[in-house]
């Protein structure tokens, strides 16, 4: 039985939720519609105009644009670096909070990660350019993936530390009493119980890689150029080409959205796995 106040609150909650949704969807819809408009219609702020496909055509078929390739590069770099960073950050987080490594090791690792996280990325890219050029790795996926992993590492590590703190200490102690090795504890208890956290931290790491401009600009070449760098070419010295930019953002948001929906599945499945325990 639902009381009247609960119902009122539920209704209130829905109103709040859809209110937020509206604030987000409004500009998104506006961008979507801009991707089908001429520059002048966008500049005039015209709500309705005959839809055109020129922006998408320029993006996909013009000889100066290779957007599908850029998207593929972004996806490839984003997915690989997310998987790597999730694995190494979760491993480190588990050891840090549950296996009592020496205090100095924890302090050094987390402290340095924090220092690195706080400094602006743009002050590093020059050094990375020199390092990767000397190694002959400039313009390769390897260089981009490594730097993207590093870039996302501090945040992912802090998040995983936070999420793993929610796993009851007793559970892990019990497993260890049963004779499980640390590796077994990690695989059988920590990973299933932190699927939700991993999905969230992974989504954020992926988005960070997906949006990165500064690193990708400096370490990529024409073959490994990522979508944000390609999109930035529409903000030109004398003109912002809003139509093409809108089309490019629509096309770059679709793959990311798919990832989010998949991630959602993971959250749910992870929770179910947790509930079964």
């Amino acid at each position: 039985m639902i009381s009247r106040t609960t119902r009122k609150n539920l209704l209130g909650g829905h109103l709040v939720a859809w209110g937020y949704a509206l604030i987000i969807i409004g500009p998104m819809f506006w961008i979507l519609s801009n991707s089908f408009k001429r520059q002048i219609d966008i500049l005039m702020g015209n709500t309705f105009s005959t839809p055109i496909l020129t922006n998408y055509e320029t993006l996909l078929f013009s000889r100066q644009s290779d957007f599908l390739m850029n998207l593929w590069n972004s996806a490839m770099i984003g997915v690989v670096s997310t998987v790597i960073v999730l694995v190494i950050a979760t491993l480190a987080a588990f050891t840090i909070i549950r296996l009592e490594p020496p205090k100095w090791a924890t302090a050094l690792l987390l402290g340095w990660a924090l220092v690195f996280h706080m400094l602006p990325t743009l002050t590093f890219v020059g050094s990375w350019y020199v390092m990767f050029s000397n190694m002959g790795l400039h313009g390769t996926y390897t260089a981009l993936i490594l730097t993207h992993v590093l870039h996302a590492l501090p945040q992912t590590m802090f998040l995983m530390v936070g999420f793993l703190l929610n796993i009851p200490r007793e559970l892990i102690q019990a497993a260890r009493m049963d004779g499980c090795s640390y590796g077994q504890v990690f695989r059988r208890i920590v990973v299933p119980l932190s699927f939700g956290g991993m999905a969230a931290a992974g989504a954020l790491a992926f988005i960070q890689s997906w949006s990165d401009f500064a690193i990708s600009l400096n370490l990529s070449d024409q073959d490994t150029m990522t979508a944000p760098v390609a999109i930035a070419t529409f903000a030109q010295e004398h003109q912002i080409r809003y139509g093409e930019m809108a089309a490019a953002s629509v096309m770059s948001m679709i793959p990311a959205l798919i990832l989010i929906l998949l991630g959602q599945r993971y959250v749910v499945r992870g929770l179910m796995a947790g509930a079964v325990k």
Partner: protein, 433 residues
């Protein structure tokens, strides 16, 4: 993907068309994405057709050009055989000694007298540490972007006006055309653009930034009666004939207001011409004319250079440098420059107007040539970007009313003097108001 890489089975006949050694070297060019890129790409393809050389373009967002150029020329082995440098960045690369003097690649090489140098910006004098057409030849212009005055020809015809000769004329015309739906004039007064926009005002009022930059005297002269007059004119045009809050108008807003028919005049780069006259991006296409930027009564006209040069770094092989110079030499010829304009480029020669005929894509050439001939570099020294950041703020604060024009110029003078003295220049005391 290679953007324009067309592998050519060059025939013997086409190879013989080019003067000089026809080497089959592939060169790589770093260039920014822009509306004039189509013209440049057309030129590159034409060159590949005529010779058996190949050119690979690395097309980069404008916002990333500086970093990529620095990365390449500072290393031991450069990635690019030709780099494109814009007016604001030239001094840094010239002064840093990254570029190969073109006469060291080919002792015979010289610029044709009809090639514009935009205030001597093709060369660098390492003694005075400033631009000089007589110094080491380090770059050749590849995009002749300068500022011009834009005006609405239809409104002019209606009101029976003629293009302004002086700043007072411009003010009168702007006020005459202003109404509820039209701003008379749009200044480009946001912090990142104001110095460039203000430059032609300063020079054409007889003012200057430095005492004698080409002679190596960088004593600061911005805070002069002429400078004050220039800044007052700048602010008055914005306040009396412009939109509210001109201090936030950057290039994007300026072009938006012009192309939507909301403005009667603006001073902006000639690169905006195709944008303002394309029906897909402008409702006033065909109604926007160009003219020489006004000057104060009895003073000389001036425009600010906003062009690009191509330069050849020292850290690539001699063969690449030869091949790169061959391309640039070809690029500058009159015949190719006409083709460049037709393909959407902005030319770098002043002798094209007579060959233009009635072709509408050449309509901007007369005003372009006039402005380009009087265009000057505003910050002809390596500390230019630091100075321009500092004084842009003061000028912008004068526009939004946080400083009086006198305060803004005095502060600018002090700051310029401090920056240059700390950098080791010996200067006379700055002039003050």
């Amino acid at each position: 993907m290679k953007q324009t890489k067309t592998f050519l089975l060059g025939s013997v006949a086409s190879a013989m068309l080019v003067a000089g050694p026809a080497s089959a070297e592939e060169i790589r060019i770093l260039i920014n994405q822009s509306p004039w890129l189509n013209g440049f790409v057309a030129m590159v393809e034409e060159y590949e057709d005529q010779t058996d050389n190949t050119i690979e373009l690395d097309v980069t967002p404008f916002g990333g050009m500086l970093e990529k150029t620095r990365n390449s020329v500072r290393g031991d082995d450069g990635r690019y055989d030709i780099v494109a440098l814009n007016a604001a960045g030239m001094a840094e690369f010239y002064a840093g000694g990254f570029l190969k003097p073109l006469t060291e690649i080919d002792a015979e090489f010289a610029l044709d007298e009809n090639v514009l140098t935009f205030g001597g910006s093709t060369g660098w004098n390492f003694d005075t540490n400033g631009f000089s057409a007589d110094g080491d030849l380090l770059g050749v212009p590849i995009n002749g972007n300068v500022q011009v005055l834009y005006y609405r020809t239809d409104l002019y015809d209606e009101a029976g006006l003629t293009p302004p000769e002086t700043w007072d004329d411009l003010m009168a015309n702007a006020k005459a055309l202003a109404d509820d739906n039209t701003y008379g004039f749009i200044p480009r007064a946001s912090r990142d653009s104001i110095l460039y926009n203000f430059t032609s005002y300063l020079f054409s009022h007889g003012g200057s930034f430095f005492a004698d930059p080409s002679g190596g005297d960088y004593s600061v002269t911005i805070a002069s009666p002429e400078g004050l007059k220039a800044l007052e004119t700048y602010i008055a045009l914005g306040n009396e004939a412009g939109p509210p809050n001109p201090g936030a108008i950057a290039q994007a807003e300026l072009i938006q207001l012009m192309s939507t028919g909301r403005a009667a005049h603006a001073i902006a780069v000639v690169a905006a011409y195709p944008v303002l006259n394309d029906p897909n991006s402008s409702i006033v296409a065909g109604k926007v004319g160009t003219a020489l930027i006004p000057a104060a009564e009895g003073e000389e006209h001036a425009s600010a250079a906003g062009h690009w040069v191509a330069a050849i770094p020292k850290n690539v092989t001699g063969e690449k440098q030869d091949a790169a110079l061959d391309f640039l030499n070809w690029f500058l010829s009159k015949k190719q420059q006409l083709f460049y304009v037709q393909s959407g480029g902005i030319p770098v020669r002043k002798d094209l107007s007579d060959s233009a005929g009635d072709n509408p894509s050449f309509a901007f050439l007369p005003a372009f040539s006039e402005n380009a001939s009087v265009s000057r570099m505003n910050m002809p020294l390596p500390q230019g970007s630091q100075i321009s950041d500092a004084i842009s703020l003061f000028l912008n604060q004068a526009v939004i009313g946080e400083l009086t024009p006198t305060e803004a110029l005095n502060k600018s003078a002090d700051e310029m003097h401090r920056i240059l003295t700390e950098a080791g220049y010996t200067l006379a005391e700055p002039s003050k108001l």
